[in-house]
Amino acid sequence: MSETRTIEVDYLARVEGEGAMYVRTEGDRVEEVKLSIFEAPRFFEGFLRGRDFREAPDITARICGICPIAYQMGASLAMEDICGITVDGVLQDLRRLAYCGEWIESHALHVFMLHLPDFLGYPDAVTAAKDHPDMVRNGLRIKKIGNAILRLLGGREIHPVNLRVGGFYRAPSPAEVAGLGEDLSWGLEASCEVAEFLATLDYPNLERDYEFVSLVHPDEYPITHGRLGSSSGLDAAIRDYDDIFTEEHVAHSNALHSHRSDSGEPVFMGPLARFALNREHLTPRAAELAERAGLGIACRNPFRSIQVRMIEIVLAFEEALRLVDGYRAAPAEPALPVTPRAGTGFGATEAPRGICYHRYSIDDAGLITDAKIVPPTSVNQPTIEADLRELVQTHLDLPDDELRHHCEVAIRNYDPCISCATHFLDLTVDRK
């Protein structure tokens, strides 16, 4: 006799945006897993058309309040690709510093406020804070330091206004940048302590044979630029993205689903992918912590993503300190001059949640004729569904409430940004 079970989460908590989950089982088989994103479509790609190419960073910054730099920089890189300029030197250093700020504030919010309560056994951060006040207090301070970097480089921490095609509107003075140093030093030590603590916690077992995809770079842990790389040996230019990945609509979600064009298989983007493909470029303290935490050359347990995210916070602090120390003089000009020319350009950066890809076409007057933006949550969505399928299949003996909780934690492993991906979450498990 077969029993149908349905497990639903009608409104997923501790993720960004609106989404739901539905799982249906028949006897001992998982029949259906759907992650639904019902956040309303946002039409950014549509209303970019007809706008000046220089407006793209400011318009796309509004896609996300937590990872605006990913959008501003992806758009800027694509426009620079079209116009034939390359931002390097001190301007590139300032871009990487700004992006370190985004990684710190985004990762810290997820690690301390959203994901850590799951592993400490609390319903939320407010409750966890009563028993672990120093941890939460330090987490808030770490996040605030990330915000301070964004405020200095971006003009303000939410939807920054100071980044532009070619660089910045205003470059900070060396004294302003040096002012970050003391907090960054504190942040690095505090983050290392948390990374050590996270290595002592128990994590659920789930390991799947993911294809990890991230940017790769010969000299550095990729943040602001690189080539497309994967654990199956992919090595391609950003301009090949649309050949390698296909996006399609699925009925149950307002976010497009993305998969490899050749195999049809989903891929995994984000901290675990970056770590697996770029481990040799970890900064010294981050590398040492990864080693001591026993994360190996790659970590395939998504529940351990919180550890890797924390190690990336350590890395971001080390990188920020290095960049702050190296900033001796403001650049002569805060941006390179950019003259529009008709063409199509490509840009991709490592947003906190994975690769954020942009493609634009502009005409001779610099007006945008076509735009395509792929956020990492869109790519990870089918991978999250596959994780949930495996998790439910191996835990069918659990009562619905426990199973539902496991599933919610598994979704948070990806720090999904539903608002960004909408073009997302509730949980239903239907057992037959």
Binding site: Y11, R14, V15, E16, G65, M113, V136, L140, K144, S419
Partner: protein, 158 residues
């Protein structure tokens, strides 16, 4: 918490989102009041805790959506837990979550009052709706009345 820095009014919100700018507008009107510190911020918990450290009483002003008529005034006293929504977003922590987090951390001032104003519009763009603009004078009067009651109680010993 030992309070030595006197009363503080913090306006919370985003002035680029219509009536969400009401907190900042109230603070702008109160700025310069003798003996009163004012500040404006986005509501980020660590920033709030840092701002109010050492101050008492602390008054927060923000737009609050309850479904009541636009311009309706709400007053919440943090001696009682503030009602929290079931939602936690990775993009922001609500005012109630921030206050409750501060309570868990032992970072609440002795007196914390929240004045909430029901917004009419929260869309992009600077400027308050007529309904909310009409309540500004009432909010300011309530705050100054609060301060008149609270200040003598919490004035530091000399």
């Amino acid at each position: 918490m030992t309070a030595t820095k006197g009363p503080l009014v913090i306006g919370i919100g985003n002035p680029w989102r219509g009536d969400d700018g009401v907190g900042h507008a109230v603070v702008a009107a109160l700025a310069g009041t003798p003996g009163l510190t004012t500040a404006a911020c986005s509501g980020e918990p660590a920033e709030l805790m840092e701002l109010w450290q050492g101050h008492d009483p602390v008054i927060l002003v923000d737009a609050i959506v309850t479904g009541a008529a636009p311009g309706t005034l709400h007053r919440l006293d943090a001696r009682e837990p503030l009602p929290r929504g079931a939602r936690y977003s990775s993009h922001g922590i609500g005012l109630a979550e921030a206050v409750e987090l501060a309570r868990s951390l032992g970072e609440l001032p002795d007196t914390l009052i929240v004045h909430g104003i029901e917004p009419a519009r929260l869309e992009d763009g600077v400027g308050l709706s007529p309904e909310v603009r009409d309540t500004l004078a009432r909010v300011i009067t309530r705050i100054t009345d609060n301060l008149a009651e609270a200040v003598p109680r919490s004035r530091p010993a000399r």
